[in-house]
Symmetry: C2
């Protein structure tokens, strides 16, 4: 039973964790759960912490759900380009198991297979990422104000709110909530980024400018800084 | 007659410039010409300086022809994404003229129109770029040796050969000819790059690593250096 390897890491806050009934392609791979505080009243919910953002700016809450739980889409189109978006936890399954779900990894180019496997993350890490991104969103200058219940929940995970403290993880400039509205050729100006592109968990994930994220590429942030430092040194010789 | 605005800039070497008979969609827009030295023997030729490279490594000579004369392809696919590749000089025509050639600019998104227009270059500039790129290619470490006739022609334009002197314009690391063979997910490791992405002429064009070119994005090289300098300063605070 695959889902047993997804250990619960919410030890800094007691959460409900009651199983939710879900359907869909990979619903048997992971038991999705309620992440409301333990002994909450009312219905169980997986993404309750996004409920307010969903009412005021659904494009942003949808983005957070998508980026935290799914691999990014293939930027190119061809039969061997791989699936457009897939649950990150599906990428923890073996090639044989994925075949049962209709995904033939062996038909993909080695580079594409590797890229998909690098996006793998367990279910709990994905939820932790969603909580972190929600926290960072509310701490952007110009962000809406969440109800106390959600604010308290997020602060229990990541400390007191500090409006305006959310920066691009890469260039360290403050990120304004309004940037979510700006799009260049159909792409958002803010992207979810990774200090290490091959690790998807709360510690390693944040927001960045699209142009910064593109410049970082598949380097770790540390490698990126070392790389541009070398460029500047050679360019000024 | 549009072709009159393409003034001849080959004043540092007398070239033949006899008109070549060409066919194809935009053949009436520009009079293509022979760029062999004046009073050459044998047949006229537009890209004679690529003839040797074409026999030893046609993928590279084709790349030089393509990058020097065509816009880059649309990276995304949709009805309003614009043409995949088009002659750069076609982008000097008015919207009305382009409509006669079956390209309805007004059907493209403003951002796509702007991007295409930024790729515009006159015919002579494109040939100058091809000559420059050929020169840079032969000066990469590991490059094949051209026949004297081609070497002399290229040196008349850009000075004495200095094998190993060709560097990535962006990161300033030497570029090896073997890099043309390396491809990541179907893309070449070496790209044609622009010190200013909106100017396509010999002075402004060179080769760069794909990852460097992506990082530079639509900034000028000067803007890029200033940008990464700012990042490093903020990151080390």
């Amino acid at each position: 039973m695959k889902s047993q390897k997804f250990k619960v890491r919410f030890n800094y806050m007691e959460v409900c964790l009651k199983p939710l009934s879900t359907t869909g392609k990979f619903s048997k791979v992971v038991q999705r759960k309620c992440f409301l505080p333990k002994d909450h009243s009312g219905k169980c919910s997986e993404f309750h912490f996004l409920s307010h953002l969903h009412t005021v700016k659904s494009s942003v809450s949808n983005k957070i759900r998508r980026d935290s739980t799914h691999t990014t889409g293939a930027a190119w189109k061809s039969s061997d380009a791989g699936p457009n978006r897939i649950f990150r936890w599906a990428m923890l399954l073996s090639d044989e198991e994925l075949l049962e779900y209709g995904l033939d990894m062996s038909a993909l180019k080695p580079g594409v297979q590797l890229k998909l496997r690098e996006k793998a993350a367990d279910y709990d890490s994905c939820i932790e990422v969603a909580i972190k991104l929600t926290y960072l969103t509310y701490n952007m200058a110009g962000a809406p104000t969440p109800p106390d219940e959600i604010k308290n929940y997020l602060e229990a995970h990541h400390g007191s709110f500090d409006l305006g403290s959310t920066k691009c993880e890469i260039c360290q400039e403050p990120l304004n909530f309004a940037l979510f509205n700006e799009a260049k050729v159909g792409r958002a100006a803010i992207e979810t980024c990774h200090l290490n592109p091959r690790i998807h968990n709360a510690q390693n994930v944040g927001f960045g400018h699209r142009e910064c994220n593109i410049a970082q590429g598949n380097k770790t942030l540390e490698e990126f800084y070392a790389w541009i430092d070398g460029i500047l040194k050679r360019a000024s010789l």
